[in-house]
C-alpha cells in the first residue's frame, strides 16, 4: 500500500509582521514549522504503517527551497520517502495551483491513499484536499478524525465530523483521499537519531514550472488588518491594575 501525505510549511503563529502596501511583511527572522493538521495527517499515515509494515509512506510539500525542513521532520517521524515541489514564496501559489501541481506529480506515483490536513493553519482555506481528489477523480472525505483500512486493504472507513458533535461514517474504495482533522491521536515526536538521519537525507525536488498548472481563478487584491467587531479596549497598566479594571468592568455590568 502506497500512502501520500501532503504537508505545508507555515510561519509560527506568533510571528510578528507588518502590512506594507497591502502585503504581509515579516519582521525577520521568522521560525517555520509544519502546519499542525498536516502533522495529524502524517500521524494517521504512520499508524497505518505501524499496523502494516509493507505500507510505504511518502511526504510531499510545495514551497520555497527552505520548506525542505518539514519534509525532514516527516522523515524523522517515520515517513519512508519525501519529495519537494519548489515554488516561489511570493506570491505563494493558491489552492488550485497547489492541488493541480500535486495532482500532476501524484499521477506519476499511483498512490492508494492520499492524506492532507483538513486545512492549513495559516491560510485556513481547506480547499486543496477536495480539489486534489476531484482532479485525480478519486473519492474523498474531509474533516476525518478516525480512519481505518479494511482487512483486505481495498477500502477505508472514515469518520468525519459534522456540526454539533455529529459524525458521518463513510466507506471509500481505494484509491481515495482523506483530509484529516485533529484528534486525540497526537502526532509523535521524532527520535533525535531519526531527525539527524533525516537532516542528511537527499530529498528529490522539482520545480512547479515542470508540472502542468492552470492559471489562478482568484486573486488576493490586498491584505488588511481586520476591523474590530466590538469595543476591543486594551486594558493598560501592570497586572494588578488590569485585574482591578476588569473586576470593576464586570461589576459595572452586573456580571459579578
Amino acid at each position: 500500500m502506497r500512502i501520500l501525505t501532503c504537508i505545508k510549511q507555515i510561519s509560527e503563529p506568533e510571528s510578528l509582521f507588518d502590512l506594507e502596501e497591502g502585503k504581509v511583511s515579516w519582521r525577520s527572522p521568522v521560525r517555520q514549522r509544519l502546519s499542525s493538521l498536516d502533522e495529524f495527517a502524517l500521524e494517521t499515515g504512520l499508524r497505518i504503517k505501524d499496523a502494516d509494515p509493507a505500507a510505504a509512506l511518502w511526504a510531499v510539500t510545495l514551497g520555497p527551497p527552505s520548506a525542505d525542513s518539514v519534509l525532514r521532520r516527516a522523515l524523522g517521524m517515520g515517513a519512508d520517502h519525501a519529495a519537494h515541489i519548489i515554488t516561489q514564496d511570493d506570491p505563494a501559489p493558491g489552492p488550485l495551483a497547489v492541488a493541480s501541481a500535486l495532482a500532476a506529480w501524484a499521477r506519476q506515483h499511483e498512490f492508494d491513499l492520499i492524506l492532507c490536513g483538513v486545512m492549513s493553519e495559516d491560510a485556513m482555506q481547506g480547499a486543496v484536499g477536495p480539489m486534489l481528489a476531484r482532479l485525480l477523480d478519486i473519492p474523498w472525505a474531509s474533516a476525518v478524525s478516525r480512519l481505518e483500512v479494511s482487512d483486505d486493504g481495498s477500502s477505508v472507513t472514515a469518520e468525519r465530523e459534522m456540526e454539533g458533535g455529529r459524525r458521518q461514517i463513510l466507506e471509500l474504495p481505494m484509491p481515495a483521499l482523506v483530509t484529516i482533522q485533529s484528534s486525540p491521536q497526537q502526532p509523535r515526536y521524532p527520535a533525535l537519531s531519526s531527525l539527524l538521519r533525516a537532516k542528511k537525507a537527499d530529498i528529490p525536488s522539482l520545480a512547479i514550472e515542470d508540472l502542468t498548472v492552470p492559471p489562478e481563478r482568484a486573486a488576493i487584491l490586498r491584505t488588511e488588518l481586520p476591523g474590530r467587531t466590538r469595543a476591543g479596549v486594551f486594558l493598560q497598566g501592570n497586572t494588578q491594575e488590569k485585574a482591578a479594571q476588569l473586576l470593576a468592568l464586570l461589576r459595572e455590568r452586573a456580571l459579578l
Partner: protein
C-alpha cells in the same frame, strides 16, 4: 460564463441549503441573504436549492423562511449530506441554470463539496467569506487569512464563482419572509458514487450546562498545560451559572471532554459573558462564541485574532493574571 471586473453575466445565484434531521439548518437563511445581496448587485435570480431524499418538505420550510425561489432536488437514498453526491448532482444541474455564483456554508459540509465542485465547474473558489465589499473595480470578497490576524480582500478573475460563507457573517432575521417563495420540485436519479455513507452518529451529547450557562470561561492551547485548567475552573467559580469550555486543541489533547468544546464542530454558545483564556481566535472557534453578549479575551499574543472580536482585551500571561484577579475579587 465570463465576467468583467468580478461582475458575472446574467444568470442565477444559487444558495445550497443545509439541513439535518429533515429540518432546514438556520444557516441556510444566511446563505439566502448573501445570495440575494449578490443577485441584486447584478440583477440576477436567486435560487435556493435543497438536495435530499425528502427535499420537498425542507424546501417548503426554506421558501417560508427566505421568501426566495426554492428548488427541491429529490434524490433517492440521499439523506442529509454526501459530498460526492452533492458535487455530482450540482455539477449536472448548475451549468443549465446559468449559475454565476454558488453560495454554500463554511461548514463541515460546505468545505467538503465546494472546493471539489470548483474543479467540475472550472470555477474560482473562495472559502470562509465574511463580507462583500464594493470597490472602484467591482465586487470583492473578504475572508480571514493568516491565523485570522488579517483580512484578505479577494476577487475572482475567471470562471463562475463558488463561495463558502462564514456562519454569522450575513445576518438573517429570525422571522419568516413576508411571502413564501415559489417551490419547484425536481426528481433525479441518485448519481453513481464510489464512496458510501454508512451512518450518521450523534455520539457527543452537548453539555446543557454549557449551552445554558450565563458565564462561560474557555481555555485554549495558550493555557500551556492541563494543570492550568484549575485556574480556569477557579475563575469560573467566581460566577454563578458558569461553565468551563475549551477550544478544539484542548479537547483533542484530552484536557477537557469533547462535550465542553465550543466552535464549528462543538457547541455554539451565547452567554452574557465569555472569557477566552489563551485562545488564538481561529474562525473554527469563534463561530461558536461570537454571539456572546460581552467578551473578555486574555492572551499573551498582542496580535491574537481573538482580540478583534473582544470587548475587553488583556495582554497578559494568564497563569500570572488569573491568580491576581482571583486574589482581588
Amino acid at each position: 460564463m465570463s465576467r468583467d471586473n468580478g461582475q458575472p453575466m446574467p444568470g442565477t445565484v444559487v444558495a445550497v441549503a443545509e439541513h439535518r434531521d429533515g429540518r432546514l439548518a438556520p444557516l441556510s437563511k444566511e446563505l439566502a441573504v448573501c445570495a440575494r445581496k449578490l443577485a441584486d448587485k447584478w440583477n440576477l435570480e436567486v435560487v435556493v436549492v435543497v438536495l435530499g431524499e425528502r427535499a420537498e418538505v425542507i424546501a417548503q420550510e426554506a421558501s417560508r423562511a427566505t421568501g426566495e425561489r426554492v428548488t427541491a432536488v429529490q434524490v433517492p437514498g440521499l439523506d442529509e449530506f454526501h459530498g460526492e453526491a452533492y458535487v455530482k448532482i450540482l455539477a449536472g444541474l448548475l451549468p443549465a441554470w446559468g449559475a454565476a455564483v454558488v453560495v454554500g456554508g463554511h461548514t463541515t459540509s460546505g468545505m467538503d463539496w465546494a472546493p471539489a465542485l470548483a474543479i467540475d465547474l472550472g470555477a474560482a473558489c473562495l472559502t470562509g467569506v465574511e463580507a462583500l465589499e464594493d470597490d472602484a473595480e467591482g465586487l470583492c470578497y473578504r475572508r480571514a487569512g493568516l491565523y485570522g490576524k488579517v483580512v484578505e480582500v479577494m476577487r475572482p478573475v475567471s470562471g463562475p464563482l463558488i463561495i463558502t460563507v462564514a456562519p454569522g457573517a450575513f445576518k438573517a432575521s429570525s422571522a419568516d419572509a413576508a411571502r413564501p417563495g415559489l417551490v419547484e420540485i425536481l426528481e433525479i436519479a441518485a448519481p453513481e458514487c464510489r464512496s458510501r455513507v454508512l451512518a450518521v452518529e450523534k455520539e457527543v451529547d452537548q453539555d446543557s450546562a454549557l449551552t445554558q450557562a450565563q458565564v462561560v470561561v474557555a481555555a485554549g492551547r495558550g493555557i500551556g498545560k492541563p494543570e492550568n485548567l484549575e485556574l480556569i475552573r477557579r475563575l469560573a467559580g467566581l460566577f454563578s451559572r458558569s461553565a468551563v469550555a475549551g477550544s478544539r486543541p484542548v479537547c483533542d489533547m484530552g484536557w477537557l471532554d469533547y462535550r465542553s468544546q465550543v466552535g464549528l464542530t462543538g457547541a455554539t454558545v451565547s452567554p452574557r459573558l465569555y472569557i477566552a483564556c489563551g485562545i488564538s481566535g481561529a474562525r473554527q472557534h469563534t463561530v461558536g462564541m461570537q454571539g456572546s453578549d460581552f467578551i473578555v479575551a486574555i492572551s499573551n499574543d498582542p496580535a491574537a485574532a481573538i482580540f478583534n472580536l473582544a470587548d475587553v482585551c488583556i495582554v497578559e500571561d494568564l497563569t500570572e493574571f488569573i491568580p491576581v484577579l482571583l486574589s482581588q475579587s
